[in-house]
Protein backbone atom coordinates (compact mmCIF):
# COMPACT_ATOMS: atom_id res chain seq x y z
CA UNK A 1 0.00 0.00 0.00
CA UNK A 2 1.45 3.29 -1.03
CA UNK A 3 2.02 5.80 1.67
CA UNK A 4 -0.03 8.91 1.57
CA UNK A 5 1.91 12.12 1.61
CA UNK A 6 0.47 14.74 3.88
CA UNK A 7 0.37 17.90 1.86
CA UNK A 8 -1.18 19.79 4.76
CA UNK A 9 2.04 19.45 6.70
CA UNK A 10 4.07 20.99 3.92
CA UNK A 11 1.60 23.74 3.25
CA UNK A 12 1.51 24.60 6.91
CA UNK A 13 5.26 24.66 7.03
CA UNK A 14 5.58 26.90 4.02
CA UNK A 15 2.97 29.28 5.32
CA UNK A 16 4.52 29.31 8.76
CA UNK A 17 7.92 30.14 7.35
CA UNK A 18 6.52 32.91 5.23
CA UNK A 19 4.56 34.28 8.14
CA UNK A 20 7.66 34.20 10.25
CA UNK A 21 9.44 36.17 7.58
CA UNK A 22 6.80 38.85 7.88
CA UNK A 23 4.30 37.77 5.26
CA UNK A 24 0.99 38.79 6.81
CA UNK A 25 -0.97 37.15 4.06
CA UNK A 26 0.68 33.82 4.82
CA UNK A 27 -0.36 34.02 8.44
CA UNK A 28 -3.88 34.87 7.37
CA UNK A 29 -3.95 31.86 5.09
CA UNK A 30 -2.62 29.68 7.85
CA UNK A 31 -5.37 30.81 10.18
CA UNK A 32 -8.03 30.41 7.55
CA UNK A 33 -7.02 26.83 6.91
CA UNK A 34 -8.09 25.86 10.39
CA UNK A 35 -10.50 28.51 11.57
CA UNK A 36 -13.69 26.57 10.97
CA UNK A 37 -12.50 23.31 12.46
CA UNK A 38 -10.93 25.08 15.41
CA UNK A 39 -13.89 27.29 16.08
CA UNK A 40 -16.31 24.39 15.80
CA UNK A 41 -14.20 22.31 18.14
CA UNK A 42 -13.99 25.09 20.70
CA UNK A 43 -17.64 25.96 20.45
CA UNK A 44 -18.82 22.39 20.85
CA UNK A 45 -16.35 21.78 23.63
CA UNK A 46 -17.49 24.77 25.65
CA UNK A 47 -21.02 25.25 24.43
CA UNK A 48 -20.53 28.99 24.61
CA UNK A 49 -20.34 31.04 21.46
CA UNK A 50 -18.78 34.17 22.90
CA UNK A 51 -16.16 32.25 24.78
CA UNK A 52 -15.42 30.27 21.68
CA UNK A 53 -14.66 33.53 19.91
CA UNK A 54 -12.32 34.59 22.69
CA UNK A 55 -10.53 31.29 22.78
CA UNK A 56 -10.15 31.11 19.04
CA UNK A 57 -8.47 34.47 19.25
CA UNK A 58 -6.16 33.21 21.98
CA UNK A 59 -5.26 30.14 19.96
CA UNK A 60 -4.49 32.17 16.85
CA UNK A 61 -2.38 34.64 18.76
CA UNK A 62 -0.57 31.76 20.41
CA UNK A 63 0.12 30.41 16.98
CA UNK A 64 1.55 33.75 15.97
CA UNK A 65 3.95 34.03 18.85
CA UNK A 66 4.87 30.37 18.57
CA UNK A 67 5.86 30.58 14.93
CA UNK A 68 9.58 30.78 15.67
CA UNK A 69 9.39 27.54 17.59
CA UNK A 70 7.26 25.55 15.24
CA UNK A 71 8.81 22.65 13.49
CA UNK A 72 7.51 23.22 10.07
CA UNK A 73 7.87 19.62 9.02
CA UNK A 74 5.48 18.42 11.68
CA UNK A 75 1.74 18.56 11.70
CA UNK A 76 0.42 21.87 12.83
CA UNK A 77 -3.13 20.64 13.08
CA UNK A 78 -2.55 18.50 16.13
CA UNK A 79 -0.69 21.30 17.83
CA UNK A 80 -3.47 23.78 17.18
CA UNK A 81 -6.09 21.47 18.63
CA UNK A 82 -3.84 20.79 21.57
CA UNK A 83 -3.70 24.50 22.27
CA UNK A 84 -7.44 24.81 21.79
CA UNK A 85 -8.18 21.90 24.07
CA UNK A 86 -5.94 23.28 26.81
CA UNK A 87 -7.55 26.68 26.58
CA UNK A 88 -10.98 25.10 26.76
CA UNK A 89 -10.07 23.09 29.82
CA UNK A 90 -8.75 26.21 31.48
CA UNK A 91 -12.00 27.93 30.72
CA UNK A 92 -14.09 25.07 32.02
CA UNK A 93 -12.04 24.97 35.17
CA UNK A 94 -12.39 28.68 35.64
CA UNK A 95 -16.11 28.53 35.07
CA UNK A 96 -16.53 25.74 37.55
CA UNK A 97 -14.58 27.66 40.12
CA UNK A 98 -16.25 30.98 39.66
CA UNK A 99 -19.56 30.49 37.96
CA UNK A 100 -20.50 26.90 38.35
CA UNK A 101 -24.16 27.64 37.85
CA UNK A 102 -23.49 29.05 34.41
CA UNK A 103 -22.68 25.61 33.13
CA UNK A 104 -26.16 24.49 33.96
CA UNK A 105 -27.74 27.39 32.20
CA UNK A 106 -25.69 27.21 29.06
CA UNK A 107 -28.30 25.46 26.98
CA UNK A 108 -31.13 27.87 27.53
CA UNK A 109 -33.52 27.90 24.66
CA UNK A 110 -33.61 31.64 24.39
CA UNK A 111 -29.90 31.99 23.79
CA UNK A 112 -29.11 33.23 20.33
CA UNK A 113 -27.91 30.17 18.56
CA UNK A 114 -25.01 30.27 16.13
CA UNK A 115 -26.91 27.67 14.20
CA UNK A 116 -29.27 30.40 13.15
CA UNK A 117 -26.48 31.96 11.16
CA UNK A 118 -25.74 28.81 9.23
CA UNK A 119 -26.53 28.90 5.58
CA UNK A 120 -29.20 26.55 4.40
CA UNK A 121 -30.29 25.48 1.01
CA UNK A 122 -33.89 26.41 1.47
CA UNK A 123 -35.50 23.48 3.24
CA UNK A 124 -39.09 23.54 4.30
CA UNK A 125 -39.79 25.05 7.69
CA UNK A 126 -40.60 21.60 9.08
CA UNK A 127 -37.34 20.23 7.77
CA UNK A 128 -35.49 23.19 9.12
CA UNK A 129 -37.02 22.74 12.53
CA UNK A 130 -36.22 19.06 12.50
CA UNK A 131 -32.66 19.68 11.44
CA UNK A 132 -32.24 22.29 14.11
CA UNK A 133 -33.70 19.89 16.63
CA UNK A 134 -31.26 17.18 15.61
CA UNK A 135 -28.33 19.53 15.76
CA UNK A 136 -29.32 20.62 19.21
CA UNK A 137 -29.62 17.03 20.38
CA UNK A 138 -26.24 16.16 18.92
CA UNK A 139 -24.72 19.15 20.63
CA UNK A 140 -26.29 18.24 23.92
CA UNK A 141 -25.08 14.68 23.59
CA UNK A 142 -21.56 15.97 23.04
CA UNK A 143 -21.83 18.41 25.91
CA UNK A 144 -22.93 15.64 28.25
CA UNK A 145 -19.74 13.67 27.68
CA UNK A 146 -16.90 13.87 30.16
CA UNK A 147 -14.39 16.40 28.83
CA UNK A 148 -11.72 13.81 28.03
CA UNK A 149 -14.19 11.88 25.90
CA UNK A 150 -15.62 15.05 24.46
CA UNK A 151 -12.31 16.23 23.11
CA UNK A 152 -11.65 12.92 21.39
CA UNK A 153 -15.11 12.76 19.89
CA UNK A 154 -14.98 16.31 18.60
CA UNK A 155 -11.58 15.88 17.04
CA UNK A 156 -12.81 12.74 15.39
CA UNK A 157 -16.09 14.10 14.12
CA UNK A 158 -15.31 17.72 13.41
CA UNK A 159 -11.69 17.62 12.37
CA UNK A 160 -11.73 13.95 11.36
CA UNK A 161 -8.31 13.42 12.81
CA UNK A 162 -6.86 9.95 12.92
CA UNK A 163 -6.48 8.44 16.35
CA UNK A 164 -2.76 8.96 16.05
CA UNK A 165 -3.34 12.65 15.47
CA UNK A 166 -5.86 12.80 18.28
CA UNK A 167 -3.30 11.20 20.53
CA UNK A 168 -0.82 13.89 19.59
CA UNK A 169 -3.28 16.67 20.14
CA UNK A 170 -4.42 15.41 23.50
CA UNK A 171 -1.09 14.05 24.69
CA UNK A 172 -2.25 10.52 25.06
CA UNK A 173 -1.37 7.25 23.38
CA UNK A 174 -3.23 6.49 20.23
CA UNK A 175 -4.75 3.42 21.88
CA UNK A 176 -6.12 5.59 24.65
CA UNK A 177 -7.72 7.92 22.15
CA UNK A 178 -9.39 4.94 20.52
CA UNK A 179 -10.54 3.62 23.85
CA UNK A 180 -12.01 6.95 24.87
CA UNK A 181 -13.79 7.18 21.56
CA UNK A 182 -15.27 3.72 21.93
CA UNK A 183 -16.32 4.46 25.47
CA UNK A 184 -17.97 7.66 24.41
CA UNK A 185 -20.09 6.08 21.75
CA UNK A 186 -22.48 4.20 24.03
CA UNK A 187 -22.98 7.45 25.90
CA UNK A 188 -23.78 9.21 22.66
CA UNK A 189 -26.13 6.42 21.65
CA UNK A 190 -27.92 6.65 24.94
CA UNK A 191 -28.26 10.38 24.58
CA UNK A 192 -29.70 9.96 21.12
CA UNK A 193 -31.94 7.09 22.04
CA UNK A 194 -34.86 9.28 22.87
CA UNK A 195 -34.51 11.21 19.66
CA UNK A 196 -34.18 8.16 17.44
CA UNK A 197 -37.08 6.55 19.21
CA UNK A 198 -39.17 9.57 18.45
CA UNK A 199 -38.18 9.51 14.80
CA UNK A 200 -38.86 5.81 14.56
CA UNK A 201 -42.25 6.28 16.13
CA UNK A 202 -43.03 9.08 13.74
CA UNK A 203 -42.10 6.95 10.76
CA UNK A 204 -44.05 3.94 11.95
Amino acid sequence: MAKQERPAVNIDGILAQKALAGDERAFEMLVKRYQTALFSFIYHFLGDYDQACDILQQVCLQLYISLPNLRTGEPLKAWLFQVARNRCLDELRRKRAVHFSELEGSTEEDEPSPLDAMPDSGPLPEELAERHDLQRILQEAIQALPPRFRAVVLLRYLAQLSFAEIGQALQMPEATAKTYFQRAKPLLRAALHEYTGRITAALA
Binding site: C60, Y64, R71
Partner: protein, 89 residues
Protein backbone atom coordinates in the same frame (compact mmCIF):
# COMPACT_ATOMS: atom_id res chain seq x y z
CA UNK B 1 -4.72 17.91 38.88
CA UNK B 2 -4.43 17.83 35.21
CA UNK B 3 -1.38 16.34 33.75
CA UNK B 4 1.01 19.06 32.86
CA UNK B 5 3.30 17.26 30.58
CA UNK B 6 2.88 18.75 27.23
CA UNK B 7 4.80 16.64 24.91
CA UNK B 8 6.22 17.78 21.72
CA UNK B 9 4.20 17.06 18.71
CA UNK B 10 5.60 14.07 16.97
CA UNK B 11 4.64 12.98 13.51
CA UNK B 12 1.84 10.49 13.40
CA UNK B 13 4.28 7.72 12.81
CA UNK B 14 1.81 4.90 12.76
CA UNK B 15 -0.50 6.71 10.43
CA UNK B 16 2.31 7.76 8.17
CA UNK B 17 3.56 4.24 7.97
CA UNK B 18 0.15 3.04 7.04
CA UNK B 19 -0.17 0.92 10.15
CA UNK B 20 -3.41 2.44 11.20
CA UNK B 21 -6.19 1.12 9.10
CA UNK B 22 -8.75 3.64 8.09
CA UNK B 23 -11.33 3.25 10.78
CA UNK B 24 -14.74 2.86 9.36
CA UNK B 25 -17.54 5.06 10.42
CA UNK B 26 -20.76 3.53 11.56
CA UNK B 27 -24.21 5.07 11.50
CA UNK B 28 -23.69 6.95 14.71
CA UNK B 29 -20.45 8.39 13.43
CA UNK B 30 -22.05 9.46 10.20
CA UNK B 31 -24.89 11.11 12.04
CA UNK B 32 -22.49 13.30 13.96
CA UNK B 33 -20.17 13.92 11.06
CA UNK B 34 -23.00 14.99 8.82
CA UNK B 35 -25.12 16.92 11.26
CA UNK B 36 -22.90 18.33 13.95
CA UNK B 37 -22.62 21.90 12.77
CA UNK B 38 -19.36 23.35 11.59
CA UNK B 39 -19.29 26.96 12.49
CA UNK B 40 -17.48 29.78 10.86
CA UNK B 41 -16.09 32.21 13.36
CA UNK B 42 -17.48 35.70 13.07
CA UNK B 43 -15.66 37.81 10.53
CA UNK B 44 -14.98 40.47 13.12
CA UNK B 45 -13.15 37.97 15.28
CA UNK B 46 -10.92 36.95 12.42
CA UNK B 47 -10.36 40.56 11.54
CA UNK B 48 -9.42 41.34 15.13
CA UNK B 49 -6.93 38.50 15.19
CA UNK B 50 -5.27 39.66 12.01
CA UNK B 51 -5.29 43.26 13.15
CA UNK B 52 -3.63 42.32 16.41
CA UNK B 53 -0.92 40.38 14.68
CA UNK B 54 -0.33 43.14 12.15
CA UNK B 55 0.00 45.68 14.90
CA UNK B 56 2.27 43.58 17.05
CA UNK B 57 5.94 42.94 16.79
CA UNK B 58 7.23 40.16 14.65
CA UNK B 59 6.68 36.66 15.99
CA UNK B 60 10.39 36.26 16.59
CA UNK B 61 10.49 39.33 18.76
CA UNK B 62 7.34 38.40 20.61
CA UNK B 63 8.68 34.97 21.31
CA UNK B 64 11.90 36.36 22.68
CA UNK B 65 10.02 38.79 24.88
CA UNK B 66 7.46 36.33 26.18
CA UNK B 67 8.38 35.28 29.70
CA UNK B 68 8.96 31.61 30.15
CA UNK B 69 7.68 30.92 26.74
CA UNK B 70 7.90 27.26 26.01
CA UNK B 71 9.52 25.82 23.02
CA UNK B 72 7.55 23.76 20.61
CA UNK B 73 9.75 20.89 21.56
CA UNK B 74 10.62 21.26 25.19
CA UNK B 75 7.46 19.70 26.49
CA UNK B 76 7.38 21.48 29.79
CA UNK B 77 4.44 22.94 31.55
CA UNK B 78 3.64 26.39 32.70
CA UNK B 79 2.32 27.03 36.12
CA UNK B 80 0.55 30.08 34.93
CA UNK B 81 -2.59 28.93 33.23
CA UNK B 82 -2.74 31.88 30.91
CA UNK B 83 0.66 31.02 29.57
CA UNK B 84 0.46 27.32 29.95
CA UNK B 85 -2.43 26.53 27.71
CA UNK B 86 -0.43 26.99 24.61
CA UNK B 87 -0.28 23.46 23.48
CA UNK B 88 3.37 22.98 24.09
CA UNK B 89 3.59 23.67 27.72
Amino acid sequence: MREQRERSIQPAAAAQEGEEPQEEFDELDRLFIEHLPRLQPPAEVMERILTLTRQSASPRRLASEAPRHQSWQDGKSQDDGSQRADGHT
